[in-house]
């Protein structure tokens, strides 16, 4: 492996993707990829791609390579102006009760609960269907912070796997340590973190919010 090769990859990740990685990880990654393919030379473009794929599947905590401004999660009011990439550990729609969401996931929501003899007053459309607001638990591997779906972001949905990598595109307003995200502030790069899939699954997140032990079915609670 040449030093030049690694630098090329590092530059490519930074310029194309705004991804920053520690050199030691990149060295190890490239070595591993080469062993895997069992070939001396592999075209640069392919190598770039392989490294990117590995990064997408890595838990950024393992890289311990901070990219967010220091103590941004404690900022009362500031702006994140540059671009950087972070990992989304979990997300939760805070515009509707977690209980309803959990019942829907478990298939225990019962349409009979809604049956009432009283014809409902016509609700305003936005009351009947509040705008979704996802709260995102984000990390750059060192610092955790939250992001809120301040304006609708079609690229996000509750099925994105834990560990999905996102590119944050500044300027982004930050208040009380929360990023106020709009559609133009986010690019979903993809990926996941296998170890997080289980512990940050939607049902775990919802149970956590409700203070329920994960395995217990709420119907069987006393």
């Amino acid at each position: 492996m040449s030093v030049g090769e690694v630098q090329v990859i590092q530059a490519w990740l930074r310029s194309e993707w705004h991804i920053q990685v520690p050199p030691a990880w990149l060295d190890a990654c490239v070595n591993w990829i080469k062993e895997e393919v069992d070939r001396a030379s592999i075209p640069q473009s392919q190598l770039n791609q392989r490294v990117l794929e590995q990064w997408l599947l890595t838990d950024l905590r393992d890289l311990a390579h901070p990219v967010l401004p220091e103590r941004i999660s404690e900022a009362q009011k500031t702006v994140l102006s540059n671009r950087c990439c972070v990992q989304m550990d979990s997300l939760l729609d805070v515009s509707q009760p977690a209980y309803n969401q959990l019942q829907r996931i478990r298939g225990t929501d019962c349409s009979n609960d809604q049956v009432s003899a009283v014809t409902q007053e016509t609700q305003r459309p936005w009351e009947a269907k509040p705008t979704r607001m996802l709260m995102l638990q984000l990390t750059d591997g060192v610092q955790n912070l939250e992001g809120m779906e301040y304006r609708p972001i079609p690229a996000l949905n509750a099925n994105l796997p834990p560990g999905t990598k996102l590119q944050l595109v500044g300027p982004i307003a930050v208040r009380l340590g929360v990023l106020l995200l709009k559609a133009e502030n986010i690019k979903v790069l993809g990926g996941e973190v296998e170890q997080l899939l289980e512990i940050h699954s939607q049902s775990r997140v919802l149970c956590g919010t409700l203070g329920l032990p994960e395995e217990t079915h709420p119907q069987q609670e006393p």
Binding site: Y99, N112, V115, R124, M133, L210, Q219, E221
Partner: protein
């Protein structure tokens, strides 16, 4: 029947019946006709109309069922009519003697044991009247209520009469109200009784008997032994409608128990432009279940609190007048608005019907038939002190324009007043008034208003407020059961700004669904096809009288310990006996039998087999029932293996 020809004619309700050939009948020399209504009141009312109040009253063998005698022109000739009545079903279905005693056989045998119809002791005098009277008559006209049960009662009458006079000619009178027009039309368009409809009732009766008796004996005998302290004297009945009905009550109770309340936050904007006016704007985001997220947005609003008016829109808004009344709506509305239970409502409605004040109260139809003279019906009400003027105004402003639904049972019109009266008292008066007001409201016009919606922006968060100005109350004037209020808000112009009086972040909590009201329960039964509109009220009454459920102070259903335990026990067996599906399938098949689209015997054997399989499985897993109940009734008593087998 050889006296019939097959010309089909569309009746009032677009149901097709065969009609009777007048010329053919003349040859059979009908001089005397026996007419039998479902109740004495109905017989009396019909006789009064047919005889113009000149009938002669005679005693029958039963003191409650009189005989009214008069002349009437039928089949194109003057005949003597003997009008009498039964008191509902004349016959009952029971197992044959060897199976009648509770300990006579293993309950599983009740799925195949022989059954027979018999006349209970207290109905024998009525039967004797029919047998005596029919001997002198050449024709029998059945005047029972025109619904499934009525059709079946009709065949009971026919069977009794034919047993003593096999060649009697039989006709069916079809009518929806006991009024001169309706009775006269029924006489002119006599038809054949409908065996399909009656068959459906036979199937239902037999299944109810077999399922009810087997499960009731099984669970009563078993549970009395296992919980002798709490249940030794208790009949623990089972019915295939009762249990799903109970199931709904338990399901709702459990949903409330399992519910986890959550705190939410919202931003509230209040504007009081002057001393008199005040308006609250609602947040477009409605509410957020995250404190920080809401606080962030609240802080932004507080930093730039100036509100900008984005838009002011004004559009007409109407409140719809009610649909014509069907049975389920009558039960629900009476329960909610008049606080009269469904059972009581139907009892009163039945009485009002037999007295000729309202049309037949068991109907699924919520659209008026074309040929019903609504104007005449509205006219009748103009003499009333309270709603007479309103009725008059309907006539003066273009006549009745009913709002119509889209359901029709092809047999009866929606429930409506057929005669004016101001001589009623108590709940009869209240229910009659409700039916009249509902009818007039339906024939009137929707209430009209103008709604103004103001949308504002504070720090890029949107809020809105609406005001309502009622322009014409229309139907609301006669229908106090609906409320609609003016809501005055200050006037705003687009692109102006104002300083809100207050911007607050407030919190609240989600709340569980409420326990079911009787009206909710009827809605659920209707949604899942449990029972028919005619029987909802009875099933609800049964689970109350068995103490499976109780009522809270605000008249909502709360499951009792026995009810909870039974539902949980059967649920844990895996068979969804307290779920509506089993019964709903049966109910659907009954409908097909009544329409002649499925065969009586095959439906019967199919459902007997199905419930028998469920029964056998339930007996096998009976321990689950004990377990579930012991959570409520204390430890289960051990019973010997041998006894287990027997049960």
């Amino acid at each position: 029947m050889n006296v019939l020809f097959r010309a089909l004619r569309k009746t009032v309700n677009s149901r097709f019946y065969r009609h009777i050939s007048v010329s053919m009948i003349r040859r059979t020399q009908i001089k005397k006709v026996l007419c039998v209504a479902e109740k004495n009141d109905a017989a009396k009312g019909i006789a009064e109309i047919m005889s113009n109040g000149r009938s002669r009253r005679r005693e029958g063998c039963s003191v409650y069922n009189k005989i009214y005698e008069y002349e009437y022109n039928l089949f194109g000739q003057n005949v003597t009519v003997n009008m009498t009545s039964v008191s509902g079903h004349l016959l009952a279905l029971e197992f044959k003697a060897p199976f009648q005693k509770w300990h006579s056989c293993s309950p599983v045998l009740l799925f195949d044991a022989e059954v027979e119809k018999y006349c209970p002791e207290n109905f024998i005098p009525i039967k004797r009247t029919l047998e005596r009277e029919v001997r002198q008559c050449q024709a029998l006209i059945v005047w029972t209520d025109c619904d499934r049960e009525g059709e079946n009662i009709g065949f009971e009458i026919i069977d009794v009469c034919k047993a003593v006079k096999p060649n009697i000619q039989v006709f069916r009178a079809r009518f929806s109200e006991i009024t001169p027009n309706s009775i006269r039309r029924a006489c002119e368009t006599l038809t054949e009784p409908d065996i399909n409809v009656s068959d459906a009732v036979d199937v239902r009766q037999e299944l109810d008997l077999r399922i009810g008796a087997s499960f009731t004996r099984f669970q009563t005998l078993r549970l009395q032994k296992i919980f002798p302290e709490s249940l030794s004297d208790q009949l623990i009945s089972y019915g295939s409608c009762q249990f799903p009905t109970l199931g709904f009550v338990v399901e709702r109770f459990k949903a409330i128990q399992a519910f986890i309340p959550e705190t939410f936050f919202k931003i509230k904007v209040v504007h009081e432009p002057n001393e008199e006016e005040s308006v609250e704007f609602n947040w477009k985001r409605h509410r957020l279940f995250n404190h920080t997220a809401c606080l962030v947005l609240y802080q932004m609003c507080m930093e730039e609190p100036m509100a900008k008016v984005i838009s002011v829109t004004s559009k007409p808004k109407s409140k719809w007048r009610p649909l014509p009344l069907d049975t389920v709506e009558l039960e629900k509305l009476a329960s909610r608005k008049l606080r009269i239970s469904a059972k009581e409502t139907m009892k009163i409605a039945e009485k009002l019907y037999t007295q000729g004040f309202i049309s037949y109260p068991r109907t699924e139809t919520n659209m008026f038939p074309q040929n019903l003279n609504l104007t005449r019906l509205v006219e009748q009400q103009t003499q009333d002190q309270e709603w007479g003027n309103f009725a008059q105004r309907i006539l003066e402003s273009g006549g009745p324009t009913p709002r119509n639904g889209n359901k029709s049972d092809q047999a009866h019109p929606p429930i409506h007043p057929t005669k004016y009266t101001n001589g009623l008292q108590g709940n009869e008066k209240r229910l009659y008034e409700f039916i009249v007001r509902h009818f007039l409201a339906c024939c009137s016009k929707d209430a009209q208003g103008q709604e103004v919606t103001v949308e504002i922006d504070i720090a890029e968060e949107r809020f809105s407020a609406s005001g309502l100005t009622i322009i014409a109350r229309n139907y609301l004037e006669v229908y106090p059961y609906d409320k609609w209020y003016n809501k005055v808000i200050p006037s705003y112009s687009p692109n102006t700004t104002f300083q809100p009086t207050a911007i607050e972040m407030v919190e609240g909590q989600t709340s569980p669904p409420q326990l079911l009201t009787e009206a909710d329960l009827i809605s659920l039964m209707e949604k899942h096809g449990i029972g028919t509109d005619a029987t909802h009220a009875e099933h609800i009454e049964t689970i109350k009288s068995r103490m499976y459920v109780g009522l809270t102070a605000d008249q909502r259903f709360l499951p009792g310990e026995l009810g909870m335990g039974l539902v949980e026990g059967y649920n844990s067996m895996g068979y969804e006996m307290s779920k509506p599906d089993l019964r709903a399938e049966l109910e659907a098949d009954l409908k097909l039998v009544s329409e002649g689209r499925k065969n009586k015997a095959s439906v019967l054997s199919y459902h007997v087999a199905k419930y028998k399989a469920v029964f056998i499985e339930s007996v096998r897993k009976a321990k689950k029932l004990d377990e579930a109940l012991s959570n409520y009734l204390g430890p289960a008593q051990e019973i010997a293996e041998q006894e287990q087998v027997e049960l």
